[in-house]
């Protein structure tokens, strides 16, 4: 720990002098923005588990894509969608609850991925896929991430009103003539794309945090969806930057640092949020008791 502090005191701006750190920061921020936008919709829709399931299910797709010589993101995306649609199919044709089905399907695919991975000798680093690795990303991967991330962001911006209505009240959306089936699959695909983009930064297991926590922070701090989006994006970008920056000095896992900073922001929001925070609620209930006493 002391070494980290010393390193920091010597040269606090050191991370910004390395090309690989700047690239890491850039990719981290992009991932933060895409995931944070989506997380607001997912929180409204109650799809928190979906991100977790889709991300785990991508492992066999990645290995198979490697074998077939396709870009890994294609395999990941296809496997993610397969997981989501298989879950939907099994759920609607059996009496098992949805979250249970999701657990079964994604672990089945993840297990298959592990078996394939140990069987097929790839030069894909399993640790990088599972836990992310922002440092030392290849140029082609940066381009790929930027293109997919940019397109996902564009799609979210274009469809933001339809998606909002769909997430907020699917029945209402249907009744005013929106195609909710198409919106359902659009949202699923967007989630899968966002995960493909984030795998590099935080890995399969922690993607879920990027897809939930920013939205929840926004939800605690604001009653208006636009504000919620802004706050979510702001907190995700901040935690990506701070996480990457801190990980340089303490020499720790980058993805974990990002997620932990995000968790701290959530704790702050939970405690100090103006109306929905712990302190505000306590203050309000104390005040109403005093008023009741005065009467």
């Amino acid at each position: 720990m002391n070494a980290a502090v010393e390193l920091f005191l010597q040269d606090p701006a050191a991370p910004f002098r390395h090309q690989f750190m700047l690239e890491a920061l850039g990719v981290g921020v992009l991932v933060g923005v895409v995931c944070a936008m989506l997380s607001c919709y997912l929180v409204l829709k109650g799809w928190s588990l979906m991100g977790d399931a889709i991300s785990h299910a991508m492992l066999p797709g990645i290995v198979l894509a490697y074998v077939a010589g396709l870009p890994l993101s294609v395999g990941a995306f296809a496997a993610g969608l397969l997981c989501a649609s298989a879950t939907g199919f099994i759920k609607s044709h059996s009496r098992v609850k949805e979250d249970t089905v999701m657990g079964i399907v994604f672990t089945g695919l993840f297990g298959l991925g592990l078996v394939l991975f140990t069987k097929v000798k790839t030069d894909v680093h399993l640790n990088h896929i599972l836990f992310g690795s922002l440092l030392g990303i290849s140029q082609s991967l940066i381009i790929q991430t930027s293109v997919i991330g940019g397109l996902t962001l564009l799609a979210i911006l274009l469809l933001r009103k339809d998606l909002l209505l769909f997430c907020f009240d699917a029945n209402h959306a249907r009744s005013i003539g929106l195609n909710t089936t198409r919106l359902y699959y659009t949202l699923l695909s967007l989630v899968a794309l966002a995960i493909v983009v984030s795998l590099q930064a935080v890995g399969i297991i922690l993607v879920m945090a990027m897809l939930i926590t920013p939205g929840c922070i926004g939800f605690l701090l604001s009653h208006r969806f636009t504000h919620m989006l802004q706050i979510a994006v702001g907190s995700a970008v901040l935690s990506s930057i701070v996480g990457v920056y801190v990980s340089y000095f303490i020499n720790g896992a980058t993805g974990a640092c990002i997620v932990l900073v995000l968790a701290m922001l959530f704790l702050l929001a939970m405690t100090f949020a103006p109306r929905r925070g712990l302190l505000a609620r306590r203050f309000l209930s104390a005040r109403s008791k005093i008023r009741a006493g005065a009467r």
Binding site: I104, G108, L260
Partner: protein
Amino acid sequence: MIEQLTIPFQYEYMLKAIFVSALIGGVCAFLSCFVTLKGWSLMGDALSHSIVPGVALAVMLGLPFAVGAFFAGLLAAAAMGFVKAKTPIREDATIGIVFTSFFALGLLLISLYPTGFNLRTIVFGNMLGIADFDILQAIVICAIAMTVLLAKWKDLLLFCFDANQARSIGLNTTALHFILLSLLSAVAVAALQAVGACLVVAMLVTPGATAYLLTDRFGRMLGIASTMGVLTSAAGAYASYFLDGSVGGCIVVLQTTLFLLAFAFAPKHGMLASRRASRKAIAATLQEVSA
């Protein structure tokens, strides 16, 4: 040919792996019936990830890692309960936030202080290189969990099936809630060794859900699930020898395959059976209408 098939049994480490996997698989499967009934699948996933920092800390301090894991699991459960009670955020989101934070903390600890407990163990479990002390630990955990489950299974069943009813007939549901959480944490520790953190949830959900498709009676469900848990875990560990790798992957793929078979062909609740039933019902209605 037959000689080749018995090769795994000639190695002591394979015999140990098969035995311990079967034991853990059986206990997890027994518990999975309660988990499926209660709808706590996400909780199983969450606890199995949340125990990682506890394990890392315990290994660093030289404690038995079951201790660290158990406390981390309970702490995570308490944190989820607290956030859920104090904020307007939905429960599944709360669970997600808490367990990813715990897991991230575990990853950070492991990356900062590399010890014997490494990332490989989290992903793959550690069945093939399991130490004798860890086997003993797993046996003790399984024995305690099974004792509690057998002693309390009726209360737990009622609690999982209908908590309000359980409360109204005078059961202490808070205690039952705590017991079930503790059982989940304890068993998750054992399962973590067998299949790794990501796949623990499969051991805690799939056998129960498969049995749920095959029968309407809880006693039978427990029997089917436990048998399936023991057999798939032993077979998975055995098969991993030939596939040259991941014990956890093999076990879980086997379990998922059985679930899919049950989903398609189960006598009453399978997809084909219900399709046949609905076709018959339509035919009967048509006959009535035409007659």
